[in-house]
């Protein structure tokens, strides 16, 4: 039997390996994030993606560097997800924040919330991104077309 050919287990593996809250230096696999929360009982799945924008305050941006207090950020993100999950009740949530060097259009944050109904799913995703903005120890430095850069506050 060819173990590299036709097995479907890697998909299952990805799902079970997806932590509810993750800080990563890798590109975010949004399909895996969605798959991790999807289930027959979940009639609603809200997916929020934050991406790197091509301009800020009218200034063209060439890329973005995300810095983080990784050890603390993992704890804070897990805490935020747990709060959202407690409010949502039945369902599944996954939130991933990418750090490192990102290009325009790259996904910096992905939040998937799945619930039997749409309102709790939307509310959970919204809560998580707003709390990330308030308290996740992550910083971004914009790189501009002219070669200069600036930390955003």
């Amino acid at each position: 039997m060819n173990s590299h050919c036709c097995h479907r287990w890697p998909v299952v593996d990805l799902q079970s390996a997806m932590q509810p809250a993750l800080i990563t230096r890798e590109a975010i696999d949004t399909a895996a994030v969605l798959a991790a929360v999807s289930a027959p009982a979940h009639g609603a799945v809200a997916l929020f993606l934050g991406t790197v924008r091509e301009q800020n305050d009218g200034r063209p941006v060439s890329g973005m560097r995300y810095d983080s207090y990784e050890a603390m950020a993992s704890d804070v993100l897990a805490e935020i997800v747990a709060e959202a999950a407690a409010t949502m009740g039945e369902g599944e949530i996954v939130a991933v924040h990418r750090i490192g060097e990102l290009s325009i259009g790259d996904v910096s944050v992905a939040i998937a919330a799945a619930s039997p109904h749409r309102a709790p799913a939307f509310d959970a995703a919204r809560y998580i991104i707003e709390e990330i903005k308030l308290r996740l120890p992550v910083w971004k430095q914009e790189h501009y077309n002219d070669g200069s850069q600036r930390w955003l506050a």
Binding site: M72, S108, W151, L152
Partner: protein
């Protein structure tokens, strides 16, 4: 007692280091430690007097009293997402 400072983003650029250690008197608060760091002069003096801090990875008040070998992180305004 020995305190390990962690610096991020803008603050790291100001100080010119990701982390550094200072010895402060026993009973010092987080605010006292920040004052000691700013007193080193140079870019460190441009750190805010009252930054947001975390002690051992947990958000803390500046009036919190430090213990030997505590990790004191100075956190610029966050900008995730």
């Amino acid at each position: 007692m020995r305190i390990k400072f962690l610096l991020f983003a803008l603050y790291r650029d100001l100080v010119g280091a990701e982390e550094l250690e200072l010895v402060v008197p026993p009973g010092s608060t987080a605010a006292d430690a920040v004052t000691a760091l700013r007193a080193r002069g140079g870019g460190s003096s441009r750190l805010p007097e009252r930054p947001v801090v975390a002690i051992n990875r947990i958000y803390a008040g500046l009036d919190e009293i430090l213990s030997d070998n505590d990790e004191l992180a100075l956190l610029p305004p966050v900008a995730g997402g």
